[in-house]
Amino acid sequence: MYFALTDDQRDFGAAVRDFLAGKFDTEAVRAVVEDPEGSGHPAALWQAMGEQGWLAVLVPEERDGLGLGMVDAQVIARELGAGVAPGPWRGTVLAAEAIRLAGSRSQQQQWLPKLAAGDVVGALALRGSTEDGWPAVEYAESADLLVVADNVGLRLLRRDEVTTRRLDSFDGTTRLATVTLADGVGEPLPGATSRALTELAARAAILVAADLVGIAHESLTRTVDYDRERKQFGVPVGSFQALKHHLADLHIGVTMAEHAVLYAAHALDTGSAADPDAALAVAVAKSKASDSAAQMTGAMIQYLGGIGYTWEHEAHFFYKRAKRLAGTHGTADDHRARIAELTID
C-alpha cells in the first residue's frame, strides 16, 4: 500500500511552488487582477510553464511530452491554486488531453508537441453547443486552439474560426469569454466517443478540484498564521475555541479533499473513468474540494476580520477563485447528484 506522492512528485510540486513564490507571487497576481482589460496571460509566466514542463505533463513522450499521469498533473494544478496563478495552463493541458484521447494520429502529431511546449495556447469548452455557443470559457481569447463539445462529440476550432466576447468576472485571476462560431466549422476529433468524453470530463473535474484543494490549503495556512499573531482582548485570537474548533474541522475537510483528489487522479491513471469506483471518486473529489475551498476561503475572510474584507488584502483572490472553480466542471450539487445515481439507483 502506498497512498502518497513519490519523492519526485513532491519535488515537482515544490519546484512549481518555489517558482511562483520567487517569480510570480501575489503581488504579480495583483497586477493581473487590477488590470481587468488586460489579457490576464502574463508572458513570462507562460514561458516558464512551457520551459519547466508544466504544460507537457500529460502529453506522451513520443509527442515531446513528459508522459506522466493525473497524479502528477494534480500536483501542478494544486500549486497553481495555492498561488492563485493566472494563465491558460488548465485549458492548454485539457485541450491536449482531448486530442490525445480522441484525436486522429495526424491531429496528435500536429498539435500535441506545440501544446506541450506552450507554442500553442489551448482552451476547452464542454458546456455549450454549436447553435448557442459556449459560455464562460477560460482564456478563450488567448487560445490559438479550442476544443469544444458539439452535439455529437468534440470539435477542434482555430482562433480565426470563432468569435469571442469577454465576460466580466469578479475573479480577476482568470479571463472568461463566450465563444461562438464565426467562419468555418473546424474539424471533428474522430475518437470523441461518449467514453472519451467521460474521460475528458473526469480529468477536467479533477484538475479543477486540485486547484481548489490548493486554494483551500493555502487559505488555511494563511489564516492560522494570522490568528496565531493577531491579538484582541490581550490574547491571540487563535486561542479562542470558537475559532479553533471551526479551523480544526476545516483542516480535516481540506485534508479529506486532498485525499479524495489523489485517489481519483490515481483511479484515472490506472483505469477507466467509467468504472464505478473511479466515477464515484471523481464526484466525491470535486464535490468535497468545491465545498472545502468555498468554506475555507469564507472562513479566511471572517477570521482575518476587517482586513480580510479589504481590497488591499489578497484574501479575496482566493475567495473569488474558489467561488468560480466551485462551479466549474460541475458544482458540488451536480456531483452529489452523480453520487446519488451511483449509490442509490
Binding site: A248, A260, H266, T343
Partner: protein, 390 residues
Amino acid sequence: MDLSFTADEERFRDELRGWLSAHIPEEWTRPGFWASLPSKENFELRREWERDKALAGFAGIQWPTEYGGRGGTPGMKAIYDEEMVRARAPQTVNPLGLTFLAPTVMAIGTDAQRKEIIGPMLRNEVIWCQGFSEPGAGSDLAALSTRGVRDGDDFVVNGQKVWTTNAVHGDKIFTMVRTEPGAERHRGISMMLISMDQPGVEARPLKQMSGASEFGEVFFTDARVPASECLGELGDGWRTAMLLLSFERGASGIGQYTEFRRQYDEIVEVARALGRDRDPVVRGKLARVLAELECLRYHAMHVLTQVERGRDLGFEASMTKLQWSETFQDLWEVFDDVIGPDATVREPVPGLDLAAMHAQAMWSRSVTIWGGSSQVQRNIVAERVLGLPR
C-alpha cells in the same frame, strides 16, 4: 501510488476468508440475531468462537509470534478488520484488552506480566476491562480520584469507575488509581491490574439511552491489589495511560469504512422500501454523507501507508477519530430523515423491522463522546496539528 496489498497479504486474506466462511453459521449473520440472545449467552458464544479463531491463528495479527501473535503486517491487520466486517463475524469480547492492554504490556510490561497476561487474553480466559473515566473525571481524566493506600505488599483501593465496557463480564481491570497522597493532577497515578473477582469490587450494568448495557460501573470498596500488579512504574500511570491510548492509532479505518458503507446501503434499502429514494432532498443528504464515507476510506489508505513505514501518526489520530465518528453520526441522522414521520417507529410498514437500525442510530450518539469527545479532539487538532495557541 500503489493501492494493492502484497501477495502474502492477499494469501492471508484467502486463508482468513476460508476460515470465517467455515466457522460462522448463516443464522449468526441475520439482522437481529445477536440482539435476540440473552446477554450472558451472547457473551459466552462470542467468547468461545473468538477463542477458536485465536487457536486457528487469526488473532493478534500484528503481534510477535513469541506472544502467540501471527507476526503479520499492518496490511494484514487492515485486511483482517475488513474481512471480519464482510463476514459479519461476531464482535470481540475483549476489545480493550486486545487493542490497548496487550501492546502496552508488550512494550513496557515485565516478563512475568507478558507471560501471564497475553496468552490467556488471546484465548479469552481472562476478559479485561478498562477503568479510566469516573463520575468526576470524563474529558478531564486527570481529575480522577480513585485512590489506593499502601498496606503491606498490597494497595487498598476505593473509588468508582464508569463507562466501563464489559464491566459485568470482566475478570480483571486495568485502572488508573491515585497511589501517592497529595500528588497533583498527572502525578502519583498508577496503572493497577485489579482482579474483579473479589468482595471489594462490584460491577453494575449501566442502562444506556438505547436501552442496551454495553457499559457498566465499577465500585471499589477496600478492594485489594498486590503492588506488583502495576503496569509501568508505580506513580507513573499517566505516562502508561498515554502510551496505552496511542495504540488506538492503528489502521482500523478500512474495516470501519466497510461496516459504515454497508449501513449506508441498508439505509438506501429502507429509503427504497418507503418510496423516499427519489426525493431530491434525501438523495442530496445521502450523497453528502457518502462522500464523507469515501473520504474515510481514502484517509484509511493514507494512515495505513504511514503505519507501514513506521511513522508515528501522533495527533493526526484525532483527525481520524473526528472523521469517522462525526460521519457515522451524520449517517444515522440521515436515516432519521429517510424515515421522516415514522422516525421512532420500529416497524413503519409491515415486514420492515427497523429495531437494529434504530439501535445503531442511538449508538451513534455515543461515538462522539467516548474515546475523547469531539470537542477534545478539535482542541488537539487545533493546538497540536495546526499549532494554534492554547
